[in-house]
């Protein structure tokens, strides 16, 4: 029976890395990373700046070599035109020749991707208010992000990677991006790997979530399962302590006689009754809070 497949046949993996380690000048950027990206999913790669998201994307797209096994469409991606012709990587800071205008970028992309849809690209460029004859060097940060989004969507590449596509984009354009992404994904199912720190904004768009922290994968799970994975408990210190006894506590914050704890494992069937009895409040934990608490950023006092 087809339960969650939405008419998708058997899921196969578009990309797979096994035990990948990358060091730059003695510093370990990826530390024994293993990850699978399933076909036709929107997969989020989350984590702090410098966690290793970009490096992992660069490894997947054959831009850098790393120790370990890397397979994209079943093959090693480095210098492999058969693989790279089906992959579109929209980097955070894409470089273009100095004299390029917006239209030149789109023309170049048309040559690069077999699946390129020029009419769709033009429509998207209009939607994102990108003037065809504007020099790329004169684009603002947000417009450069928008240009990357246009290229990524219109490439129709079977595997498309967006690295921090939201930088400098205002709220209206971020929403436009999400709407266009969902519409495109529904009409032309393909695999999207998206790195971002705007977890709350993109959380609902994701089917799979991978969180990377200091080069290691700390969460890799179905997005819906993750949303149900943790619960926040708040109330008098003693009551919260008694609720959390025997549970895995991810984080505790305390303010005089009141505390708030984040516990893993989600809700148990009789938790509502227990919370009522103890006089504590239960609240769901957003994906963003879960990521922040799991990656230990708040413990280091550097909460953004």
């Amino acid at each position: 029976m087809n339960v969650v497949g939405v008419g998708r046949g058997e899921t196969s993996n578009v990309a797979e890395v096994r035990g990948v380690t990358k060091t730059y000048g003695g510093q370990t950027v990826l530390d024994d990373v293993s990850l699978t990206v399933a076909e036709n999913t929107i997969h989020g790669l989350l984590g702090h700046n410098g966690a290793g998201k970009t490096t992992l994307m660069r490894v997947l797209t054959g831009r850098v070599f790393a120790h370990g096994d890397v397979r994209v469409f079943g093959e090693a991606p480095v210098e492999n035109d058969g693989v790279l012709g089906r992959v579109c990587f929209v980097g955070e800071d894409q470089r273009y020749p100095d004299h390029y205008q917006v239209r030149h970028v789109l023309e170049a992309a048309a040559l690069l991707f077999r699946t390129w849809d020029a009419a769709y690209a033009d429509a998207l460029a209009t939607d994102f208010a990108l003037p065809a004859r504007r020099g790329v060097r004169k684009l603002s940060r947000g417009m450069r992000s928008a240009l990357g989004i246009v290229v990524g969507l219109a490439s129709r590449a079977p595997l498309t990677l967006f690295d921090e596509p939201h930088l400098g984009l205002d709220a209206a354009f971020r929403q436009l991006f999400h709407d266009r992404l969902l519409a495109e994904y529904a009409e032309h199912p393909r695999t999207i790997l998206l790195s971002t720190h705007l977890i709350d904004e993109v959380g609902d768009l994701l089917e799979r979530v991978t969180v990377i922290d200091a080069g290691r994968i700390v969460i890799d799970d179905d997005a819906d399962d993750l949303r149900a994975r943790a619960v926040s408990v708040s109330g008098p210190v003693a009551a919260v302590d008694s609720f959390t006894e025997g549970r895995e506590v991810l984080q505790v914050e305390r303010l005089t006689s009141v505390s708030r704890a984040t516990v893993a494992g989600g809700r148990r069937p009789d938790d509502t009754e227990l919370a009522r009895h103890l006089g504590v409040e239960l609240e769901p934990v957003s994906l963003q809070d879960l990521v922040v608490r799991t990656t230990g950023h708040s413990r280091r006092g550097a909460l953004r």
């Binding site: 969650v4 969902l182 509502t272």
Partner: protein, 90 residues
């Protein structure tokens, strides 16, 4: 019923999440699938949903109401009077 694609676009959620929601409603007997045509609301679905919500009404609404009232020093008699008044106003 709208398609999962339409639901996903409207709510701005992943289509797999929308599909899970629809599947849950199928499992609950609220929706059923007609092969090749689409999803339909099952007969009696409205009554079943109402029954289910009624059965949870005491624990989900009345109990928290009583708890909150007690916290504020409002006794049950006072609460009943408030409910009567509120009901009359409608």
């Amino acid at each position: 019923m709208p398609s999962t694609t339409e639901l996903a676009a409207f709510h701005r959620i992943n289509p797999a999440t929308a599909a899970k929601g629809v599947h849950q409603l199928v499992a609950d007997g609220v929706l059923h699938k007609r092969r090749g045509i689409g999803m339909f609301v099952s007969t009696g679905a409205r009554d079943r949903l109402l029954d289910r919500r009624r059965s949870r009404f005491a624990s989900e609404f009345v109990q928290p109401l009583v708890d909150e009232a007690r916290k504020l020093g409002i006794d049950v008699e006072e609460l009943k009077t408030m409910i009567d008044k509120t009901g009359d106003g409608r």
